[in-house]
């Protein structure tokens, strides 16, 4: 009873892939790990990559596995130990993993994997309820400076990108980041309810998550974290408002430790080809992800800098003991 439908699904997948796949498909057969449960951002990134890699003919087949647990700590441990030297495996990673590994005192770190490329980023936003007296980033800055404990920020899990951003905001406006009153919620859903219901002062999340509420006028966006204003958007950046706060929730892909330079090049080339494909561009548009491709050593460099920055912030708010 159970086996039949799954087989049906498998057959359907094979059919779709065969139809979309030109005859000149290469022999690349990849295994891609999403270090999270199905449904989250990393899982969606992995499944989108699977779709684009196969549709654009870069790989003949891509198999996605989910290894959920502790912000990616479980997945990366399995990846580093189990896939060592395997040039046909990759793992999705991202901003949240940097913080999670530091907080969980993980014995495995992102320094051990072979960086391939940064793929996407999501711009972050701070919102307030429509009836809030806070109109812009300077109002919020003033409130934070007046009494930081009374300004409550709602966002995602402790130590995640929203939490780091709250601390960076407080630091950027000259308040003591250690004293921020950050209330972690599980998932954007619950925090959105707390913001709409006026339970907290402000909410932090990825822009796409709150876009519908902002457009319908239920939430007011007081600033986005991009370097420059997003084309066609009337939401000002924090930089425009004189607050130095630039951060993005980036997602990337990495390879196991111990692979040869040739294997690394094959994987990097495959990812680069995928990023340039129409299939990938189409997916980015659907999901509202920004293309943030950064390959090779530039990405390795970025990863190092971002790790240092996040660890510093987490130490300053007391989540990581130095």
């Amino acid at each position: 009873m159970f086996r039949f439908p799954l087989r049906l699904v498998g057959a359907a997948v094979a059919l779709t892939l065969a139809a979309a796949n030109p005859a000149f498909a290469q022999q690349l057969e990849l295994k891609l790990m999403a270090p999270a449960a199905p449904g989250g951002g990393w899982d969606q990134t992995a499944r989108s990559m699977q779709q684009a890699l196969v549709a654009s003919g870069v790989a003949r087949s891509v198999q996605v596995t989910n290894v959920p647990g502790a912000g990616g700590s479980v997945g990366i441990a399995q990846f580093v130990n189990g896939a060592k030297g395997d040039g046909n495996q990759m793992m999705v990673s991202g901003f949240v993993m940097v913080g999670a590994l530091a907080m969980n005192k993980s014995p495995v770190t992102l320094e051990q994997v072979t960086p391939i490329a940064r793929l996407t980023e999501e711009i972050q936003v701070i919102v307030v309820p429509a009836n809030s007296p806070i109109k812009n980033a300077q109002d919020l800055a003033a409130a934070v400076k007046a009494d930081i404990a009374r300004v409550t920020f709602a966002g995602g899990s402790a130590g995640g990108v929203d939490h780091v951003m709250a601390a960076l905001f407080a630091g950027a406006v000259g308040a003591d980041a250690k004293k921020i009153n950050y209330i972690p919620f599980s998932g954007g859903g619950e925090s959105l309810a707390a913001i709409l219901g006026g339970k907290v002062t402000a909410g932090i999340s990825g822009l796409s998550e709150y876009e519908g509420q902002i457009k319908s006028g239920k939430l007011r966006a007081i600033g986005v974290t991009s370097e420059k204003r997003i084309a066609g958007s009337d939401i000002p950046t924090f930089k425009e408002q004189g607050i130095d706060l630039v951060i993005a929730n980036w997602r990337s892909v990495v390879a196991p430790p111990g692979i040869t330079p040739e294997q690394r090049k094959t994987l990097s080339d495959a990812v680069e080809k995928m990023v340039k494909s129409d299939a990938w561009k189409e997916i980015l548009k659907q999901k509202g992800w920004e293309d943030a491709y950064l390959g090779g050593d530039a990405f390795a460099d970025f990863l190092k800098k971002e790790t240092a920055r996040v660890t510093d912030v987490l130490k300053s708010v007391g989540l990581v003991k130095s």
């Binding site: 159970f2 699904v9 449904g39 969606q44 209330i183 919620f185």
Partner: protein, 500 residues
């Protein structure tokens, strides 16, 4: 109001197109299948199907996802009743009475009341979704952390209904569950608790692993250990296979009450499906005219929770469609499904794509009817399962439970936990401790803790925040009354007795 009717009629026209009917059928079939298997839930199924449905039209694939969602809720109860293995945590309350009924040869009526109850509740709740969604969502959004905490207090009071005869043993079980609930990363500070350096434990104990271990594995071990003492003879059918007139009479009110619990709580962003099933179970236990049957297979204890379970599934769609708020894993996958087509659920969706929204709601009605048609004839087939010789049946259950756990989380730690909980379940049965409170503690404990701490963080540590919100104050009063009423009534009774 008339607009709603017109829109719904239009939606019906969309939903009964042959292709969409086919999608709904595939959806409910897949949903029922994955609901039966513990571990593989509707969320995983939708995730696997997302890339496949990419080429389909948005209406059709969303209709299929909704079918999977409703179907999963039906399927989970079948294994709960027949082999005491809840397919998902929301079916746990069903297992309490349902499995006892099945062992007494009343599996047929138990499956029937759960299928019909699910149908009634699903239909009523879908009507609620169509007409009350905008109003209900305003209420749901006003629910703050302190209100959730108060709701958890009400739920905790009702847990005692699952205790059985001895409150001390019941509380012991509950505290085991609460302790298990502490395992993992603390949500508010990000620090690990009781994880002993095992990374797999950082996310806490999975409810399904605990439930399957305690219920299914524990039961199998217990039966195996008793085999040489007394050969327990299972009669697949005793009396009628279908519901008798008496069964109908005892079922319809619990169906309606279960719906009243399930739909609004399901619509709360952090409500979930488990809490209404337990509220319903304890309500039925208090209101029943046959209290002596509870714990031995009372049909009310199946009818109510099953209705609550399905009504909450419809409730979850309220915040999803009106706010774009996914409040369960499956809803989050459906949201991803919407986004795949460039649709953003939220306040604008009803205005921008009415055909899609109302087509989806209409197809929920159709999915419900299909599920009833699919499930009722199967009842006769399902109860035959119990005719399988016990050693075979329980060996099958063990394989089933292990496979489901591995499918959900492929890790040695998870499997060891399953085995450990199985032994715990065996010992608890052997020494007569109730097992349901353990699972309840694991579900309620972490929610109550994090909501209370959130409320206090927002109020800067002022406990008065718990009684300043009218919702929270009311709920706390309800909890207090429910807690004290039995003692007061007993006291009054004694007082009267003295007077006589």
């Amino acid at each position: 109001m008339m607009d709603t009717f017109a829109a719904l009629a239009h939606g019906m026209a969309v939903a009964i197109q042959p292709m969409n009917l086919l999608y709904a059928l595939i959806g409910v079939f897949l949903g029922t299948a994955v609901g039966v298997l513990p571990g593989i839930g509707p969320a995983l199924t939708v995730a696997l199907l997302l890339p496949v449905t990419y080429k389909l039209d948005p209406g059709g694939s969303l209709i299929m996802f909704a079918g999977i969602y409703y179907g999963g809720m039906y399927g989970g109860s079948t294994t709960a009743i027949l082999i005491n293995t809840p397919g998902e945590s929301a079916s746990m309350a069903t297992a309490l009475e349902g499995n006892k009924m099945a062992k007494a040869g009343r599996g047929g009526p138990a499956l029937a009341t759960s299928a019909i109850g699910s149908f009634v509740a699903g239909t009523l709740a879908t009507i609620g979704l169509a007409f009350l969604a905008p109003w209900l969502v305003d209420f749901a959004v006003r629910f703050g952390p302190e209100d959730y905490f108060a709701l958890m207090c009400v739920a905790f009071v009702t847990v005692s209904a699952t205790f059985g005869d001895s409150p001390v043993r019941g509380l012991t079980s509950l505290f085991i569950g609460l302790t298990l609930g502490l395992v993992g990363i603390d949500k508010l500070t990000g620090q690990a608790r009781l994880a002993f350096g095992v990374p797999e434990l950082l996310d806490g104990v999975e409810v399904t692993t605990l439930a399957v271990g305690l219920f299914a594995v524990g039961e199998a071990l217990y039966v195996a250990s008793r085999r040489h003492h007394t050969e327990e003879k299972l009669e697949p059918v005793r009396g009628s296979l279908w519901m008798t007139k008496e069964d109908w009479k005892r079922s319809w009110k619990p169906w309606l009450r279960g719906t009243m619990f399930g739909f609004p709580i399901g619509a709360l962003p952090a409500g979930g499906a488990e809490i209404p099933t337990f509220l319903s179970y304890s309500t039925e236990k208090r209101l029943t005219k046959h209290p002596e049957e509870f714990g031995k297979g009372a049909i009310e204890g199946v009818a109510g929770p099953e209705a609550a379970n399905n009504a909450s599934a419809a409730g979850t769609l309220v915040p999803l469609l009106t706010l774009g708020l996914p409040t369960s894993a499956t809803a989050a996958m459906m949201l991803a499904g919407f986004q795949q087509y460039g649709l953003n659920p939220g306040p604008l969706l009803f205005a921008e794509r009415p055909d899609l929204v109302w087509g989806l709601i209409a197809s929920l009605f159709i999915a419900n009817c299909m599920l009833l048609v699919l499930n009722l004839p199967l009842v006769g087939l399902w109860v035959r399962l119990l005719a399988i010789p016990q050693p075979w049946l329980y060996a099958g259950i063990l394989v089933f439970a292990t496979m489901g756990t591995i499918a959900a989380k492929p890790s040695v730690v998870e499997l060891s936990m399953l085995a450990g909980f199985g032994v715990l379940g065996f010992l608890m049965r052997r020494f007569d401790f109730p097992i349901a409170p353990v699972v309840v503690g694991l579900i309620l404990g972490p929610i109550a803790e994090s909501q209370l701490r959130r409320a206090l963080a927002i109020s800067l540590g002022d406990p008065m925040t718990l009684v300043q919100s009218p919702i929270s104050a009311t709920l706390l009063a309800v909890a207090l009354i429910a807690l004290l009423a039995p003692f007061v009534l007993k006291g009054l009774g004694r007082f009267k007795a003295n007077e006589d």
